[in-house]
Amino acid sequence: MKQVVERIKVLKIDEVAKDFGKTIRVGETEIALFHLKSGEFYAIENRCPHKGGVLVEGLISGQHVFCPMHDWKIDVTTGKVQEPDHGCVKTYQVEVKGDDVYILLS
């Protein structure tokens, strides 16, 4: 089966400062888009696998976000929960073209 990938323009690079996240709502889905210190953008599902905390509000350190509810540490590039906790969140592909940031949904 062929997969259809939808590319959605969500914002301009300067609309979210480095080390901050932005909530992106696509229909019923909430995505946390992060602008890392390195300048890269990453997007993950905006729900911590622990108790559903909104990850977009977490403290960002390097490529990790710390969930604001119970301090779970999640790698935003892979969606993997870091030790000592376990789990993972869905990741979304992000593309930056010029000043625009896109999220790819399949």
């Binding site: 400062a17 901050f20 909530t23 909104v54 509000e57 390097g62 540490k73 590039t77």
Partner: protein, 803 residues
């Protein structure tokens, strides 16, 4: 006396450690040259897995930096390989043509990784895990590729696999044997280990024999003897090591698996010695670090002409350096024949412990899940201690009270405490006496003990306690700021002041943080400390603040927020209540609740509505989310109450207006009661005031939360102005000396009430504290107003994107 020429071939851990030992006992006997193939100074090879796992960098694992060679007048030749030894002329030649004569020659050529002799082993993307170059190759591969296969489920293979997992790769470990780490673990421990690592995301193919590595230019997949395949674009071979003996062999020295040495590390030819992984003693070539140090000590004495006890082989122990997994094994750990085992298996907590005895002696042990007792058991195995007086199972318990004698105390002075860096008990005791080390970190700085795996910290701590007695207790409880650094809060603050560090990143870089970006513990803490130290110049880092402080509202579990406007002294009016009611209706508040701090919390506000809510409330922020003054609870006092002796509401309002907004280590709650009936509950507040006839009593360090604590009397003053002056000084003193996230109840116990009293009661100090607080207060402004008036902040922090 003319110096003897000493040449060391191999700039690695074993050889350089031997040189260090030689320098320590006979500094001026030798003119030393070291020749090494790698372009680096001597580094701690066993910590490469930590570099790969991202815990540390090459700089941090360097054992001897370039300066060390220079300071000790050692000639160091890097990037050169010795290719020829002329043992008759006593001369060596390197690959670039350097020739050197020697009086004594030490071979410490180490070992090289074993490469499976299968087709495709030379393809791009196939590496071993032995040196910095290999580590760099894996780091680079992880950026471009996804799938890694590690061949070999031993210690090194698993550490490599864990590292690659950290780097975001899919990792499969391919192992020929039935059990992981089969040379170090028994079946039960290996099974637990496998389960744990699988939980961490590692995959395993056991009993798989790799027959071919297939790919065009770069590896594409592995082929196994059963015909199956595994796709991968990086292959790490960790199937064992073999001693580097080519040079020795060509020189005609006796070799077997390694270079054969006797009990004094002498090879079969005079004036040539071998030490470390390349040496074979009594049929064994060791591949672990601890034996190398024991050998180095013997060799150093021998070569310097001192009498020495012969080297009689080593009992080895292993510890896996993988986060979240505690594995330890030592000695002869497989039972059978006269070796009898005692096992404890706690399935619930995933803990497995086994001791193996021969008669009354402990000869081996395996620990999984909890390896705290490893060092102690290892010491008993090495000493071949007679345990017939002990209840055997109690050996697995921590030493507490009088149930066991301290192992450290009974250790001989030359016994090794830090196996990674070969530091003996004697060296540590000497550092305590001569260099006045009083903490584990002090010992680490002076002797390198505990610098690597950290497994010996508890023993060092115990040794400090034994050696220093009472002096130790005061200094031992050093808490580091967070796990990114070994420095305590005080050390970090001293450095911030002395080195004029003005930015969180600057602090992390200059003070050598182990993480480049810090963590959720140190970032907010540093942000606070910098703001406290430089109230006028430091620019607050919003991204280092916890969500509530960043958005100036309290996040709830559904992602909505609570809004608490300031009601000074818990006093409100109809106008405020009307506005709160209107806002609650308009923005669909889910709950209105009177808080314990005498104000109203509006729950269930959506993030994007927060600025509008604040604007329509037109009240200052109540900082219900802040590490700062929260509320000043008051009773109605003399204005209405028939018992009241003072105007508690006015004083409460004045205190709140004076101290609000400025940050403190943790939240700070106050109360003012107008009489000892204490309706405002001043006895469980950080600073509580109780009005009495003719004055006020001030109580401090109270807490009504997790650390329930009745406040202590700080003192008594006559006027309301004095209360404000004392409270301000007290608050500022807490700001300056508190540890971030330490409530005043803990702070007071740590500092001592009398010490705090002495500062606050001293008029000069009280005045200065007030002045410093003034400065900090002068730059505060209401955060809600600031955001309402900034379109940038509003859109950046509060708006969601809907597509």
């Amino acid at each position: 006396m003319e110096k003897r020429r000493l040449v060391l071939v191999g700039n690695g851990m074993a050889g350089v450690k031997t040189i260090e030992e030689i320098l320590a006992i006979s500094k001026d006997q030798f003119e030393i040259t070291i020749i090494g193939e790698e372009p680096h100074p001597n580094y701690n090879r066993i910590l490469l897995s930590k570099v790969l796992q991202g815990d540390t960098t090459l700089d941090d694992i360097t054992l001897n930096d370039w300066d060390w060679y220079e300071e000790n007048n050692i000639q160091l030749l890097t990037n050169e390989k010795v290719i020829y030894i002329d043992r008759e002329e006593k001369m060596i030649t390197t690959n670039v043509g350097t020739t050197l004569t020697y009086d004594e020659l030490i071979l410490a050529t180490g070992s090289k990784p074993f490469i499976l002799p299968i087709p495709g082993a030379d393809l791009e993307g196939v590496t071993t895990f032995r040196d910095m170059k290999d580590t760099d190759e894996m780091l680079a591969a992880s950026k471009k590729y996804r799938k890694a296969a590690v061949i070999g489920g031993g210690l090194l293979g698993l550490e490599a696999a864990r590292g690659l997992l950290n780097l975001g790769m899919d990792v499969t470990v391919v192992h020929l044997g039935e059990n992981l780490m089969d040379r170090q673990l028994d079946e039960a421990a290996a099974t637990l280990l496998k389960k744990e690592l699988e939980k961490q995301g590692m995959r395993f193919l056991l009993q798989k024999n790799t027959t071919e590595i297939v790919g065009q230019k770069r590896v594409e997949f592995l082929k196994f003897s059963d015909g199956e395949t595994l796709m991968c674009d990086l292959v790490v071979m960790a199937v064992g090591i073999k001693p580097n003996i080519d040079l020795a062999k060509s020189a005609g020295l006796k070799t077997n698996r390694g270079i054969i040495v006797n009990d004094f590390l002498e090879t079969s030819f005079p004036n040539i010695y071998a030490v470390g992984e390349c040496a074979e003693h009594n049929g064994i070539a060791y591949g672990l670090v601890a034996p190398l140090f024991e050998q180095g000590k013997v060799l150093a004495k021998k070569i310097s002409g001192y009498e020495t006890t012969p080297y009689k082989g080593s009992v080895v122990s292993t510890q896996l350096k993988v986060s979240g997994v505690e594995v330890f094994s030592a000695g002869d750990f497989i039972e059978g024949g006269e070796r009898k085992a005692l096992k404890v298996f706690d399935e619930q907590d995933g803990i497995y412990k086994k001791m193996v005895f021969v008669g009354k002696k402990l000869v081996g042990a395996v620990l999984f899940g909890d390896s705290k007792e490893g060092n102690r058991l290892f010491s008993m195995i090495k000493k071949q201690a007679d345990i017939s007086d002990t209840v055997k199972v109690s050996l697995l318990q921590p030493i507490g009270g009088d149930s066991g004698e301290s192992v450290v105390a009974s250790m001989a002075s030359d016994e090794i405490i830090c196996g990674c860096n070969g530091v003996s008990k004697g060296t540590i005791v000497q550092a305590i006496h001569e260099q006045e080390c009083t903490s584990v970190d002090g010992i680490k700085a002076c002797t390198s003990a505990s610098r690597s795996c950290g497994g010996c910290k508890s023993m060092i701590s115990e040794l400090l306690e034994i050696t220093l007695g009472d002096q130790f207790v005061a200094t031992a409880s050093k808490e580091t700021l967070c796990s990114c650094t070994d420095l305590s809060r005080d050390e970090v603050l001293d450095a911030i002041r002395n080195k004029k560090l003005m930015h969180t990143r600057e602090v992390m870089n200059v003070l050598g943080w182990s993480t480049s970006e810090g963590c959720s513990k140190c970032r907010p803490a540093l942000n606070y400390y910098l703001g406290m130290i430089y109230p006028l110049d430091y620019e607050d880092e919003n991204e280092s603040r916890y969500v509530n402080e960043r958005l100036h509202a309290n996040i709830q579990k559904d992602g909505s927020f609570g809004v608490v406007p300031r009601m000074y002294g818990g006093v409100t009016n109809s106008d405020q209540l009307r506005k709160i009611a209107d806002v609650a209706d308009k923005y669909n508040a889910k709950l209105l609740k009177i808080t314990g701090g005498q104000r109203i919390d509006i729950f269930g506000i959506e993030k994007e509505d927060l600025p509008k809510v604040w604007e329509e409330l037109d009240m200052p922020s109540g900082y219900a989310y802040g590490k700062t003054l929260r509320t000043v609870k008051t009773c109605v006092g003399e204005t209405f109450c028939r018992f009241g002796t003072q105007d508690s509401m006015s004083l409460g309002i004045a205190l709140e207006k004076r101290l609000e907004r400025v940050g403190s280590p943790h939240k700070f709650k106050m109360a003012v009661s107008a009489c000892p009936r204490n309706c405002a509950e001043s006895g469980i507040k950080d600073f509580g005031v109780v009005g009495v006839e003719g004055g006020f009593e001030m109580y401090v360090g109270g807490n009504g939360g997790t650390h329930l604590r009745a406040a202590d009397l700080l003192g008594k003053v006559k006027t309301a102005d004095e209360v404000i002056e004392y409270a301000s000084a007290y608050f500022q003193y807490y700001r300056e000396t508190g540890i971030y996230l330490e409530r005043t109840s803990k702070w007071l116990e740590r500092m001592g009430l009398d010490n705090i009293k002495a500062v606050i009661e001293n008029p000069k100090q009280r005045k200065e504290l007030n002045e410093r607080l003034e400065v900090a207060l002068s730059v505060q402004q209401d955060p809600w107003k600031k955001i309402i008036h900034s379109e940038k902040l509003k859109s950046e922090l509060f708006e969601k994107v809907k597509v």
